[in-house]
């Protein structure tokens, strides 16, 4: 609840912005007071990003007015927003990897050279807010959490009145998130305002004193999140009650069908993680979760599992047969399905229609080829089946994959792999960037797949998700996999501690 003595810092009223075919912001009003941490929650596509871009000047509204510090302003570009005192930490970091921390900070400040004076200010500000930094390291050596610190420090050096944070915790461990919250509260105590965008409702409830809920381009509620439950907020956000996905009791655990034995892969390029002696085994009907902060070998592990990176023959076994030396096609013929991390360009070809994308992996195990030619009728039927069973919202199966939203494309790719009846399914970040409704569907389909007797490996950064659906969890840190833990016996905090281990060696091979 805003107390009467609080002064409004920025006040938006009647903001409208349309894109072809969609009204991204429909008469949106929002007021943020000085020194307030304001939560902005909503599903993907609810219009949060557009609203924030309007506040930061990278998108112009069609209509509506913005009052900042009592004056009506027209925020035409990000440079003007920064002059007003609005700073933004982007969801996808805007850092330049080969450059040093200092150079990156200088780039974010008007007319600033990367000199010793700036380095001094950077280190001093970092210490003041509890975010120590080394100005001379190059960004590609830094962890995701450290990169975020640089982004925040870069904003703080501009001495902003409003700090916009777009989904800042989506890539952090629980401990890193808590440290971030301490910093954010300290920033707010200085009288600066923070707009905290998230779809993690618990975090909004823990951090924010007031929040705005958006759905379908409109503001549907203004509330004090501390007085709401996560369930009531979710209902406001989605507009309907969300069914909970229930982890099924583990079905008959037979002999492992998918085994990884002492998998070693050298780092494919400098800065990547080498996989060191990774071993795990998954039984039919089981969901095995691999937790960890991205950049600790997830991409390398996924490539080794799919066959894009080949390894020693014996390091990957399906149903007792070694296939570590085989490429992706050979492994697919053995009944392993893959849902890669990168949906566009890896999971699907953006400029191909859904039918063509269905064919690309479908033809390996489905009879989609007749006399060396594509059987269009069957391929179309297969694509239609994916669309219907997985609720893919596309105009038709001839729609280009690149035109689908992230959630719909993920449902399509997952559906394609599941309908091929895999014995083993390896899924990377199944609900990353997917809205809550689609996420529920995706998770329940994974659970159902396991119930039919498939072994499922889920690599994800989302601990809540892994705790929800997997039977066992291991943590990948610096290319080493911890021993597996039964999900029932482990908490998010314990996993978070493991994720921050720089040397996970002591936990390896204890399974």
């Amino acid at each position: 609840m805003s107390t009467p003595d609080k002064q409004p810092l920025i006040s938006l009223s009647g903001i409208c912005r349309s894109y072809p075919g969609v009204l991204a912001n429909d008469n949106v009003s929002l007021t943020i007071n000085k020194g307030e941490i304001h939560g902005l929650i909503g599903e993907n596509g609810a219009g949060k990003s557009t609203l924030v871009k309007i506040m930061y000047g990278s998108v112009r509204p069609d209509s509506g007015r913005i009052v900042f510090n009592g004056d009506e302003v027209s925020i035409d570009n990000p440079a003007f927003a920064r002059r007003l005192g609005i700073a933004m930490v982007f969801q996808h970091f805007s850092l330049f990897e080969p450059m040093t921390v200092l150079e990156n900070v200088a780039l974010g400040l008007a007319g600033q050279s990367a000199d010793a004076a700036l380095a001094g200010r950077l280190v001093e500000t970092g210490e003041r807010y509890g975010m120590p930094v080394d100005a001379d390291r190059t960004v590609d050596e830094l962890s995701v959490g450290e990169r975020q610190r640089i982004e925040i420090l870069r904003c703080l050096l501009q001495d902003p009145e409003l700090l916009i944070m777009d989904e800042p915790t989506s890539v952090l461990t629980p401990q890193e998130s808590n440290a971030l919250f301490v910093t954010l509260r300290k920033i707010a105590e200085e009288g600066r305002s923070i707009l905290f965008i998230s779809h993690k409702l618990d975090e909004v409830r823990a951090l924010c004193e007031t929040s705005t809920v958006m759905r379908g381009g409109k503001v549907v509620a203004q509330c004090d999140p501390r007085e709401e439950s996560a369930a009531t907020l979710a209902k406001l956000m989605v507009g309907e009650d969300l069914a909970e996905v229930e982890r099924p009791p583990r079905s008959a655990s037979g002999a492992p069908i998918f085994e990884i034995n002492d998998l070693n892969v050298p780092a494919p390029y400098p800065g990547a993680s080498a996989l060191q002696s990774i071993s795990f085994a998954v039984s039919p009907g089981e969901i095995f979760g691999v937790a960890g902060v991205a950049g600790n070998g997830q991409a390398e592990l996924l490539a080794a599992l799919s066959g894009e990176t080949r390894s020693a023959r014996s390091s990957v076994t399906v149903n007792g047969e070694s296939c570590g030396h085989e490429g992706p096609r050979a492994r697919r013929s053995r009944g392993i399905g893959f849902v890669p991390e990168d949906r566009l360009g890896h999971g699907a070809v953006p400029d191909f229609a859904l039918t063509e994308n269905a064919f690309l992996t479908g033809h390996i195990t489905e009879p989609l080829i007749r006399s060396a030619m594509i059987d269009h009728a069957r391929t179309r039927t297969f694509a239609e089946k994916i669309r219907a069973t997985f609720d893919v919202r596309a105009a038709s199966v001839e729609t280009l994959a690149g035109q689908l939203s992230g959630g719909n494309l993920q449902k399509f790719i997952l559906g394609r792999e599941i309908l091929l009846n895999p014995r083993v399914l390896v899924v990377a970040h199944p609900t990353w960037g997917v809205d809550a409704g689609a996420a529920v569907l995706i998770r329940s389909r994974l659970v159902e797949l396991a119930q039919t007797g498939a072994a499922v490996v889920v690599v994800s950064q989302d601990l809540d998700e892994l705790l929800q659906i997997s039977h066992r969890i291991s943590v990948l840190t610096s290319g080493t996999l911890s021993g597996s833990m039964a999900t029932a016996d482990v908490t998010a905090e314990e996993l978070g501690l493991l994720m921050m281990e720089t040397d996970g060696g002591q936990y390896a091979h204890t399974a």
């Binding site: 982007f90 805007s94 330049f96 080969p98 450059m99 974010g108 190059t138 400098p270």
Partner: protein, 309 residues
Amino acid sequence: MTDVLIAMLITIVSAATPLLFAALGELVVEKSGVLNLGVEGMMVMGAIAGFAATTHSGSLALGVAGAAFIGALMASVFAFLVLVLMANQVASGLALTLFGIGLSALVGSSFVGTPLDGLDPVAIPGLSGLPVIGRLLFNHDVLVYLSLGMVLAVWWFLNRTRAGLILRAVGESHDSAHALGYPVVWIRFAAILFGGAMAGIAGAYLSMAYTPMWSENMSAGRGWIALALVVFATWRPLRVLVGAYLFGGVTIAQLHIQGAGIDVSSQLLSMLPYLATIVVLVIISRDGARVRLNAPASLGRIFHSSGSK
């Protein structure tokens, strides 16, 4: 013998200088994230422009300036195509090269056979009198000194100035640079113009100093060598310098070997400079980490300012 050797070493400098100009220009262009394959075309246009301007005006300075201007003008056509119309950079660059070779032959047909007094060496007072070193290092034409100065200037610009930092940022990730509010298109436009001017000067050096005359297609593939040098030098100015002088050195050496009547196929010898440059630069750039860090990540990618949603 010493005299012969010194004369030979001096010709190496002349052979290397045009490569150095063109490669330094292209290095800046590529660091901004644009691949301009039109170096050869801009260079040969610079050659005829410099020659024609000098012949008509009698001023060598005007000749060099004219070459730089025409090079930049050619580059601006390319910049308009790839930055404004968002055309494919590879195709546009190739078109620029073909266009330049054809247009220069057309414009230059009346200059074939015209003599020209080329650039004279400028002795640096006090130093040029030194034995051996004096003639070797301190008795060159003004463009040689300029090219060496440009190596330091480009290095200093890229690594020490804020403008250079911004240019590298644009080449690294145009989306991030745009999000920070930097004018990606204008920065690239400026870099492309600079690259064009440098290629133009490289051409002028050919027609006004290296061989003071005009002949059709006189750049003879040097633009392509310059392009290769940039990549093999892993986008570092000082390595471009090494590569250019190495290429120049082997070029001259193989000419002398041919002249000495040593019984090796002349085609094989003509291959030598290319081979030697590639081998040496591959060896010095075999460290994958450095290459990855230096290569501009947005190189050749088209920038849509609206961005993805």
